[in-house]
């Protein structure tokens, strides 16, 4: 693959998609836990709490996150950072839309405005 080939950009898109999938899966797991049980009292052991998290949704989410990290590194081999980080910030919109469509979240205008500012802010923070 030469620098900046379409495969690097494909890797970037895949990285964003896997990142989104990872987050949606964790949210789905959290909602399942919320629906299934009351918050555990402080006396429950750490081991008992941690063992709850070893669940297919969480494991697949972690796999997606791992995949997102690997494809991100692959993408960075050919995509300049000044393009990669702004492209990555699109995930804030992706997550907002997924939150609305998959989980029925309401997003008031001020939250959209906040998301927009965060997107710009994050891009500027990573500007080289």
């Amino acid at each position: 693959m030469h620098v900046g080939s379409s495969l690097h950009y494909l890797a970037l898109a895949v990285s964003i998609a896997l990142n989104g999938a990872s987050l949606v899966l964790l949210k789905a797991f959290a909602l399942e836990r919320e629906g299934a049980s009351e918050p555990q009292p402080a006396s429950v052991s750490i081991l008992a709490r941690v063992s709850v998290v070893v669940h297919p949704l969480v494991l697949i989410s972690m796999a997606c996150f791992g995949g997102a990290s690997v494809t991100w590194i692959v993408a960075l081999a050919g995509v300049p950072l000044s393009v990669a980080y702004p492209s990555m910030s699109v995930i804030y919109v992706v997550i907002a839309v997924l939150g609305q469509t998959v989980f029925g979240e309401r997003i008031p205008p001020t939250r959209w405005a906040g998301i927009g500012l965060v997107m710009i802010g994050v891009v500027l923070m990573h500007a080289v």
Partner: protein, 135 residues
Amino acid sequence: MTRPTSRHYGALAISILLNSATLILLKAVALAHMGEAQLVALIPRLVAVVLDPFFFAAVAAFLAGIYFWIVALRRIALSLAYPAVSVSYILIALVSWRLFSEQIGVVGWVGILLTVIGVTLMFLPQGKVGRARRQ
């Protein structure tokens, strides 16, 4: 979804701190072992990374961060929680500035300011009576 309590917002804050700690620790490990960007002696350096106590701390912080993130996500909307994680970039930038002598620059400071304003806007209670009851 019922409304989040301070327990959930607290868990969100903790997960953000742990996320920052993970990345800062990984940066420290990378600086210690992966100084030169070469493939020479990669395997021994990777072994050194895995054996580094800071790497262990980074993994522990990452796993703990996932736990608190899930607690937060039980009640807090994903579209609200995820952008909040951008605060960790601010913390990392500030710590890198102090600890690793990294420059932030005017553009970076503007980015930090915009992110702070953005996250604040997102967490403001909504004005109207009806909206104040929803996330």
